[in-house]
Symmetry: C2
Subunit: 406 residues, 2 copies
């Protein structure tokens, strides 16, 4: 989209938002674990949630909040997922939202809550609310404030994730900023991620929701880490309207410009999440093209991105195209091996039955040394194409997940 | 089934079969890599193959052989999968079968071939056929001969896999024996496995096929290692008729007795394959019961067995029931978390919203130390039940698969 620029920034970049991140000992000492994002006024809002049938309490609570289409604050914590906690968990989520609204003097129906961490433990509401109170005192509009909030939602993430983009709409500069956390359990329908987006665009809740769904389809829903899907995934977007553009309430040029900025931010966050997938040493873009149908392209690319054998071969720096093609073969997609080609960063490994020789393997070996590369399978059966962002499966993935709770 | 007994044995246990395993340097020096199984006369035969659309050359070749319903020999190799090798690969498979038939003086349409190993390398036909020739000289009817053959098809397996059962049919003792290899890429539809079963039962090819399909549904198709599915999976059964029972050519008591013995052998081999899954430190039986439908039970159990997060928690000896329940939640099965229970070897970890306390966690910690345990999820929504055999996801799984080809 002409005029859409990726810039440095986060949830405080758009006009009308303050943020804070504080340490409240939800699970560990001395690390940020409570984030608060507050808009100056009630915002147009939209959200996307996990499709997991075991949905965490905050997800259940938030679904009713976003129906109203207006939100002014987000309270989030890491260290405890408040999932599989039943009526008590729901009550804890509700109470956290209400006390936050009271503390900030907001409409109690305008507060969203989000949690991430271990499943099946009761939310330590007292510590969370103490954290929320100190967060209200720490609120600010600088990049440092946004970063502190981004840090507070990290679990096994090794880096905070922020992104920002600007675009001109009707002569006005519109900013979209955001933050998110990964980093395991990431698959279709955006598993364990929390993502909070803010914008100063003026846009109706209905069009905001539409823009969000389109952006998710091209970003977070194209992300596979391990194929697990979490109970807590939540992605929110709040639009303050402070940019002063004419309210976007229908499709058209303005809507497309806004969508471009929103998508830029979402894609950047999604890529950061894949790069920082649990234990990841490689960021891999898997593309299946020349597929007979969109559905074939999609499921073939997902099968490769989820295949433990393909993922471990990337970790092992091994251009093992056989595992890639085998995954395509069991994905359900139409494939004729002798018509197919497999490329790593444009270097062919297999084409129409021809296998990489020693010279070609030397070229491939160079690609496999990289921290990021693409795997492209061209099926030569049609024109459908699909891309998935993913990472390798490393020893550290196992270390991290074998040692997580106890 | 009354009278069905599991006994020690393998492919040479049933009357009418000889076997051999020899070292032919297909890929490595000094290890058995060519197996030969030869029946005294043409046998009634049936087979099940991979559903992967990228099927290896031997699979394509064998499909036409088994249509005839009669087989007298199986030639198998490890070290090279002869997959993604196009017309050349098919020609290599055909040639191997024909030369074997010539060497043994058999009908060329009565020889099956099977390969396992690296994808995309041409089969070293000269070495394979040299191995076949020495194998014909080494053929014998003892357990040691069966074991040598079982060893020759191992890839990353750490142990050869054999099983045997006997049953009385119409006053005659009938024996079913078998061997198989795993050990990664094992999922629905029996991914990278080779399995060869022999029996002295007299049974028609049609009923043999039916018995095999039923047995596979309760054994190999209930096995998940990593969720990948190979290009080479093949399971054969040869029936010599030497037991002297009246030919089983219709359903009934005799058929049921035979099925029981066949299933006993298949389940034993499947369990050995899960226990010896790549890098496995735990054999885990996942059961989902109380499901609304059979399909729900099945997909929920498979989701848990495939979940990298659940599998790494088992490796970490962590009773992380939250990951188990989350996998059920995204499986597509109906689930209400507050109505569910999760047990490890009968010890509850989560029941109806109640979470294991310190005392209960101590009990669970003991279970997690075991080399084998069950994970049971009771959904309390119906009466459907499904069980999957699987293993954990360990550091060694990653080691093995990161270092396999290059």
């Amino acid at each position: 989209m002409a005029g859409c620029r990726k810039v440095k920034g986060g949830v405080c970049s758009a006009k009308g938002f303050r943020a804070a991140g504080v340490a409240a000992e939800i699970k560990y000492k001395g690390r940020n674990d409570v984030a608060l994002i507050v808009a100056d006024e009630p915002c147009s809002a939209a959200a996307v949630f996990t499709t997991n049938k075991v949905a965490a309490a905050p997800v259940v609570y938030d679904r009713s909040v976003v129906k109203g289409g207006r939100v002014q604050a987000i309270l989030a914590n890491s260290g405890c997922a408040n999932a599989c906690t039943g009526e008590q968990g729901l009550e804890d989520a509700r109470l956290s939202a209400l006390v936050t609204a009271g503390e900030l003097g907001l409409d109690p129906h305008h507060v969203l809550v989000a949690s991430t961490g271990v499943i099946g433990r009761r939310l330590p509401v007292d510590r969370l609310l103490a954290g929320m109170k100190s967060a209200t005192k720490a609120l600010g509009r600088t990049g440092a404030h946004g970063l502190a909030a981004a840090k507070a939602i990290m679990t096994t993430d090794t880096r905070p994730k922020e992104a920002c983009a600007t675009v001109t709409i009707g002569g006005k500069k519109v900013t979209v900023g955001g933050m998110s956390k990964g980093s395991g359990m990431i698959e279709p329908n955006m598993a364990t991620m929390l993502g909070f987006l803010t914008t100063d665009a003026a846009i109706s809740p209905r069009m905001l929701k539409r823009a969000l769904q389109l952006a998710v389809g091209r970003s977070f829903n194209r992300l596979v880490v391990d194929g697990d899907e979490s109970t807590n995934d939540s992605l929110f977007v709040l639009a303050s309207g402070k940019a002063g553009n004419r309210v976007i309430d229908a499709p058209g040029k303005d809507f497309d410009a806004f969508r471009a900025a929103l998508e830029t931010v979402c894609v950047s966050l999604a890529r950061q999440m894949a790069t920082d997938g649990e234990g990841a040493t490689k960021f891999v873009t898997v593309t299946v093209k020349g597929a007979k149908t969109e559905r074939d392209a999609e499921r073939a690319a997902r099968a490769v991105a989820k295949s433990p054998l393909a993922k471990t071969s990337w970790f092992g720096k091994d251009p093992n195209w056989g595992r890639v093609l085998a995954a395509v073969g069991y994905s359900g997609a139409e494939v004729v091996d002798m018509k197919s080609e497999v490329f790593y960063d444009g270097v062919w490994a297999f084409r129409f039955g021809k296998v990489a020789d020693e010279k070609q393997l030397a070229r491939l070996a160079k690609v496999m040394q990289k921290d990021a590369f693409s795997v492209v399978v061209d099926l030569h059966l049609g024109s459908a194409e699909s891309t998935i962002y993913t990472c390798d499966l490393s020893l550290d993935y196992v270390h991290i997940n074998a040692d997580y709770t106890t």
